[in-house]
């Protein structure tokens, strides 16, 4: 899923997130008090699926080639499997996919940046209040990026690179349980979370090559070294999940 780094679309996502929370809140409100009290201390359902939007803060001023702003906005999907529940403490395995995109300009036209990442890791959360579960998580994965220089040139200058990364994050999740009428008795929960973290990775190194495919008898051409772009950055993320 790609999310354009435009404030309008981001606001649409926020609106959708709000609607989702509203639905969850409404479903929680629909459950009777006795049920909720009884389930407040129950285990979190085993599986969860969710989405998130995040913004990273590119410290690297080279990113000005691809964006007017140092904020790198993106979105993604995540899945969790609860492995262990020991009283208030829970341990989950987590996998996520995220992507980001931005555009800027150079002397001859526009530029495009597209990044995506897949990661897997673990999460540790603890129930501190009725609905609140702060957590810490560590994930590691592969991040890839593609950049393109557009304009009068028809050379189709593009480059891509792939780097491993590791992310550490801490956040706060608000989770509630309910028995919405459509699950016919199964336990479901909705949650929202706010998280901050930091990604450590080596930087991308881009070498531009011409347009492909290359004809067999074309004169070989050398790659143009565009330079490096930092991948390491702090981020803030908000999201929502459904647990079942």
């Amino acid at each position: 899923m790609n999310v354009v780094n435009g404030r309008g679309r981001l606001h649409s996502l926020m609106a959708a997130f709000t609607v989702a929370l509203g639905v969850g809140a409404a479903s929680m409100a629909a459950a009777d008090d006795a049920t909720l009290h009884a389930e407040a201390k129950a285990e979190v359902p085993r599986l969860s699926l969710g989405f998130f939007v995040n913004t990273g803060f590119a410290r690297d001023k080279s990113f000005a080639l691809f964006s007017d702003s140092p904020d790198v906005a993106g979105a993604g999907l995540a899945g969790e499997v609860r492995l262990v529940q020991l009283g208030r403490l829970g341990v989950s395995a987590r996998a996520e996919f995220s992507s980001e995109e931005s555009s800027g300009r150079w002397a001859q036209g526009s530029t495009n940046y597209e990044g995506s990442a897949v990661a897997a890791g673990g999460m540790l959360d603890v129930l501190v209040l009725r609905y609140l579960r702060p957590y810490v998580q560590v994930t590691a994965g592969i991040s890839s990026a593609k950049v393109r220089l557009n304009g009068a040139s028809d050379l189709g200058l593009a480059a891509n690179d792939r780097v491993p990364f590791a992310t550490g994050a801490a956040g706060l999740r608000a989770i509630s349980q309910a028995k919405p009428w459509w699950t016919r008795g199964h336990v479901m929960a909705f949650s929202a979370f706010l998280e901050g973290g930091y990604t450590a990775a080596r930087g991308y190194e881009f070498a531009l090559r011409g347009r492909s495919p290359v004809l067999e008898d074309d004169i070989p051409f050398e790659a143009v070294q565009l330079g490096g772009l930092s991948r390491a950055r702090p981020h803030v993320r908000i999201g929502a999940s459904v647990h079942f």
């Binding site: 608000a174 772009l229 803030v236 908000i238």
Partner: protein, 541 residues
């Protein structure tokens, strides 16, 4: 508070905090500079000794593109904002770039105008010489030791409060710390249009090197070695003369000493003799000569002139609108007209053998732009023998361009129909070279006896200039060649052909200069993006 309201609080609170975090963020440092401006890049290109130098004004960067082991390699070099003019530093493998800088304003950082000296060798540092004014032109001395910066044409104020358009800056580039020395020329109603450097002019007790500053209707003489001696302004017209004369060509007579000036708008050649002042009349701080101006009649609307001495004293050969050439005695001003069969647009002089005479003698080639003819002239005793010293040859078409290769003993004419004619200067033979697609540019470099011909197609042709052969071959590239440079490879010192293709993102192909073929060719495309991310970070700070 009801239980329902309480259950909604966590979600609402998280949402509000998330919205607050998406505050507007900008590259504050980069907002005034930002990424490179989205304007069309205009790559100027200058041939150096070992590389092409491309100037990209939008990113104020020069790219030096050479051959490293047969592989094209581009190196970006930062230069100042608003580059106006770039030239190869005469006699050296480095680039001179004149930049106008940035006029400071609120939120805009000031940058002084500067002359940048950029060596092609990576190991040598770039030299930046700040200037005291935003000049828009410069001229180099023939040995490359001096540069004069000036305002030419219709200089426009770049935001300065005031500037003197007749101000000059003289820079000695040989000095360990070059610093501009301010000079000025008298303003007699115009601004400089060009500058010429003289060779050593011989006075009885000193040798002078003068600078001639050309302006409409007058010239100014400067002695760079003696700035205390002041400038000499020499009007070419009387005050009430309504004509506008633009000096176009300046020749020097070192032994006279004298200066000859051809000006558009005039049918005369202006002669300035430097008459030495007797020792007893000299004043300290003043020139040791007195300029004496005279006008030499040389036909109608002179288009070219050349100085020669064929053993009978210095003579001036002048061609113009008439079907004559004029031989002017520089000392007596006597003029002899020699009738020619055609108009003459260019004069090429050389000393070499001629048919029936292996002893080198001074000769001239007169080329027409209107008729399909050219004339060889024996300059010895031309004033007395006149037309008997002329030999007219027919060529396929009128010449649009004349390319003399005197060292190779050839002159090549490029015709309007994009074909060539090769004239052998020794044998005076004529060899037409046809083209099915049209020849655009001719380039020759001493390293190989080859004339490189660019065409509108992806074929680069090579004309073998070895006498008696004149064979033509070509090599197919992946794009039409816009220009050709023969250099020495940085790594293996082999001669390489650097073919520049017309492309806004930069495109060069390297081949073996002695045996060019696709098998040994390598290309570099889009090199204006070299190190773009590092340069963006520089601009964003």
């Amino acid at each position: 508070m009801t239980t329902t309201q309480f259950r909604a609080w966590p979600a609402v609170g998280a949402l509000g905090l998330g919205l607050a975090l998406f505050a507007c963020g900008e590259y504050e440092d980069a907002s005034s500079q930002g990424p490179l401006p989205s304007q069309a890049s205009n790559l100027g290109r200058v041939p150096l000794g070992s590389a092409w130098a491309y100037i990209e004004p939008a990113s104020h960067t020069a790219f030096l593109v050479g051959s490293h082991g047969g592989v094209p390699h581009a190196r970006p070099v930062e230069i100042g904002h608003q580059p106006l003019k770039a030239q190869r530093h005469t006699g050296r493998d480095q680039l001179l770039v004149l930049t106008q800088g940035v006029v400071g304003a609120r939120g805009v950082k000031e940058e002084a105008a500067a002359l940048w000296v950029v060596p092609a060798a990576k190991e040598l540092p770039t030299l930046t010489i700040p200037l005291d004014a935003r000049y828009n032109d410069f001229a180099q001395s023939p040995d490359g030791n001096s540069v004069i910066l000036f305002f030419s044409g219709s200089p426009k104020a770049g935001g300065e409060a005031a500037f003197n358009p007749n101000q000059l800056a003289v820079i000695d580039l040989v000095s360990p710390t070059p610093v501009p020395q301010r000079r000025s020329v008298p303003s007699l109603g115009s601004v400089p249009t060009g500058i010429d450097f003289s060779p050593a002019l011989t006075l009885p007790d000193e040798a002078l090197s003068l600078v001639v500053v050309r302006s409409n209707n007058y010239v100014t003489l400067l002695d760079l070695a003696h700035p205390e001696r002041g400038e000499i302004g020499i009007p070419l017209t009387l005050p009430d003369d309504p004509r506008s004369l633009r000096p176009e060509q300046v020749l020097f007579d070192p032994a006279g000493p004298g200066i000859f000036i051809r000006a558009s708008g005039s049918s005369d050649i202006y002669s300035i003799r430097l008459a030495p002042i007797p020792l007893e009349e000299r004043v300290v701080g003043r020139h040791n000569f007195r300029p004496v101006l005279s006008q030499l009649a040389a036909g109608r609307s002179p288009s070219d002139m050349a100085l020669f001495d064929a053993g009978e004293g210095l003579r001036l050969l002048v061609a113009g609108a008439d079907r004559n050439v004029f031989v002017v005695d520089a000392l007596s001003s006597r003029t002899v007209a020699v009738p020619v069969d055609h108009d003459v647009s260019t004069i090429t002089l050389w000393s070499g053998p001629s048919p029936g005479n292996m002893v080198p003698t001074w000769q001239a080639l007169l080329v027409s732009k209107e008729t399909a003819k050219a004339t060889f002239v024996d300059l010895q005793k031309l004033e007395t023998l006149k037309t008997r010293n002329l030999e007219v040859v027919n060529v396929p078409d009128a010449a649009r361009e004349v390319h003399p290769f005197v060292v190779a003993g050839l002159a090549v004419l490029l015709h309007a129909n994009r074909s060539l004619t090769v004239l052998n200067l020794a044998t005076r033979s004529v060899t037409p070279i046809s083209s099915g697609v049209g020849i655009q540019k001719l380039r020759h470099y001493p390293v190989a006896p080859t004339l490189w011909l660019t065409t509108p197609t992806d074929r680069l042709a090579a004309l073998n200039l070895v006498a008696g052969q004149l064979s033509v071959s070509d090599v197919r590239l992946d794009a039409p060649a816009d220009d050709v440079l023969v250099t020495t490879d940085v790594l293996d010192s082999k001669p390489r052909l650097l073919v520049a293709h017309a492309h806004s993102a930069g495109y060069v192909t390297v081949l073996d200069a002695l045996a060019p073929s696709r098998d040994n060719a390598r290309s570099l495309r889009g090199f204006v993006a070299t190190g773009l991310l590092e340069r963006t970070e520089r601009n964003a700070q």
